[in-house]
Symmetry: C2
Subunit: 337 residues, 2 copies
């Protein structure tokens, strides 16, 4: 059995920089036609020059592959209309992190009052720049996303023309909010469709499945699966693939992030097929995102074949999800173009 | 400031065997007068001969120290009255594990029907042998203990003369059940008084704080602290100190267990002092357990002094809780006798 995906996109991707960028970017570029690239480098991407230079480094790392990096800025409440108008042509979205909530987010937002955010968000609204949000408070780990939902709701009401993307949602509560507000959209990761907290700490502890937001309860996963499997027009695939070297994962202070870029499409095909909704995968991995973002990615066909594929133990120094396990599908790179 | 504890006991302790036993047993024996020793070796302790031989190995490992290992059998529904009457003099309790629920529990109970358990539990009841229970189902990791509570309640009602000890309780739900049934008692660990799931996976992932049952929510910890701090007569200290070599903790499949034996009394003193209830520590670490078990441990004074103590990074190949951190109290070994 074969499946052809047209211009699949990863709407939430961490490509890092330097050697890690050179290791992981080609893996995304082989499977995807375009990807929204997160700006949480050290220091974060906050200027037009940084956006352009980072994009060049990504293009260099993916040379010869049909792949468009869709760049983002790291949200700052200082951004004004003139700056945003100038940088608009270089970016697809702006990513907002609450301060200190995940990897390299120290410089994020610590004041969510509408007044503090209004000038920048109104300018973004006028310029049609989507706002991507890492929606977690600094509360108890299982409650952080649910506690952030009222902030999503306030933002959605106050900035009705702003497209707000709830990144990597993990809870039933977030899905419910998503469906209530016209201008809320969401990305859903591969791993949150597959796992719950049980997979992370229910048996032995599995650092390679540890991520932020942490995987939640079975009923939360069910809510995510429901909207993903039907390819609800408000949701799109965003892997949040977040590579760390083994030394940072298999250590007493294990970094958060699951590396899924090279396994994402085969694992999604396996999951959607098992749910009897393989025909919805195209929308989930591309069409919905094109509508939500109003973009047209490079034309590219990615061919999947239903053949057992043993996932490599490592890509460079990074351990992928499903390392050493078998997936029912693989990307047929010979015919992908 | 000094604090003298009279015959402190650890009512839930893993001493392992072989080299690990020789590393960790003296650390418990320096701080405690006696300890309930868990039987989940490989294979589990299920015969009188195994109990006696394991006790000898522990005595050998703690030679020269005033310390009484209180032995336990690994619960089997096959144990009959005659066997139990014979082994009674060698054991302080019998420990029941649901099958496959934690380290080396494969041979545990998989049928909790009262009929299946009645012969053994009635015999234990007649012989006055307490039943220690690891109370978790195989459900979702955050719900396992709460889901087991109805089993505790059924057992408590049906075997009203059996002393049932809810081991290492972690939830508000368990505390509520404990208080409702006369013949339910509980041990509480050091780490569950200190941490919540936030400490394990809320920031970076910390394998050395990963244990079963996993640490729960802030309101659960509060419920544990409430009964521990008042030294409620139904609760007693049981560390569940569970050493694993570093290679088993700092790895992709991290084993469950927090090693607290050498830090337990100083850390408890710090916590009880901060809560303004230092005078209740004696009951929590000894008097309550003496009443519940009806035992008199060897007379031994353990002296704590309020002096900053930097916890070693390792004991042998085992990383303790608070490794490299400072505690406000230390055990004064020169005067402990």
């Amino acid at each position: 059995m074969r499946l052809t995906l047209h211009s699949p996109m990863d709407m939430h991707l961490h490509l890092r920089d330097g050697d890690m960028l050179r290791t992981v970017a080609p893996l995304s570029a082989r499977s995807f036609s375009a990807a929204i690239v997160m700006p949480n480098l050290v220091p974060p991407i906050t200027t037009q020059q940084m956006v352009r230079s980072y994009k060049e480094r990504i293009m260099e790392a993916t040379k010869g592959l049909e792949f468009e990096p869709l760049m983002t800025l790291f949200f700052k409440p200082e951004y004004d209309y003139d700056f945003l108008a100038k940088v608009r042509e270089d970016i697809a979205a702006i990513k907002l992190y609450p301060a200190g909530i995940t990897t390299n987010s120290q410089d994020g937002v610590d004041n969510f009052s509408l007044e503090a955010l209004a000038p920048t968000l109104e300018a973004m609204s006028e310029l049609g720049i989507p706002l991507c949000v890492h929606g977690e408070t600094n509360g108890f780990v299982m409650d952080r996303e649910a506690e952030f939902v009222p902030i999503y709701e306030r933002l959605a009401k106050r900035f009705a023309n702003l497209k707000i993307i709830m990144e990597h949602i993990t809870t039933k509560r977030a899905v419910e909010a998503l469906l209530r507000y016209e201008n809320l959209y969401a990305t859903i990761t591969l791993h949150h469709l597959y796992i719950t907290l049980d997979d992370v700490i229910g048996g032995l502890m599995r650092p390679h499945l540890f991520c932020k937001p942490v995987a939640k309860r079975p009923e939360d996963r069910m809510a995510l699966r429901k909207v993903a499997f039907m390819a609800h027009e408000k949701v799109m695939f965003g892997s949040d693939s977040a590579p760390h070297p083994r030394s940072a994962k298999e250590a007493p202070g294990c970094a958060a992030g699951v590396f899924t870029a090279p396994v994402a499409l085969p694992a999604l095909a396996q999951l959607f097929e098992a749910a009897g909704v393989l025909e919805n995968l195209q929308k989930f991995v591309s069409d919905n995102a094109q509508s939500i973002y109003g973009i047209t990615p490079p034309a590219k066909e990615v061919h999947l074949v239903k053949e057992l594929w043993r996932v490599p133990e490592r890509y460079g120094d990074v351990v992928p999800m499903f390392a050493g396990e078998e997936l029912a599908w693989r990307v047929d790179e010979d015919t992908t173009a």
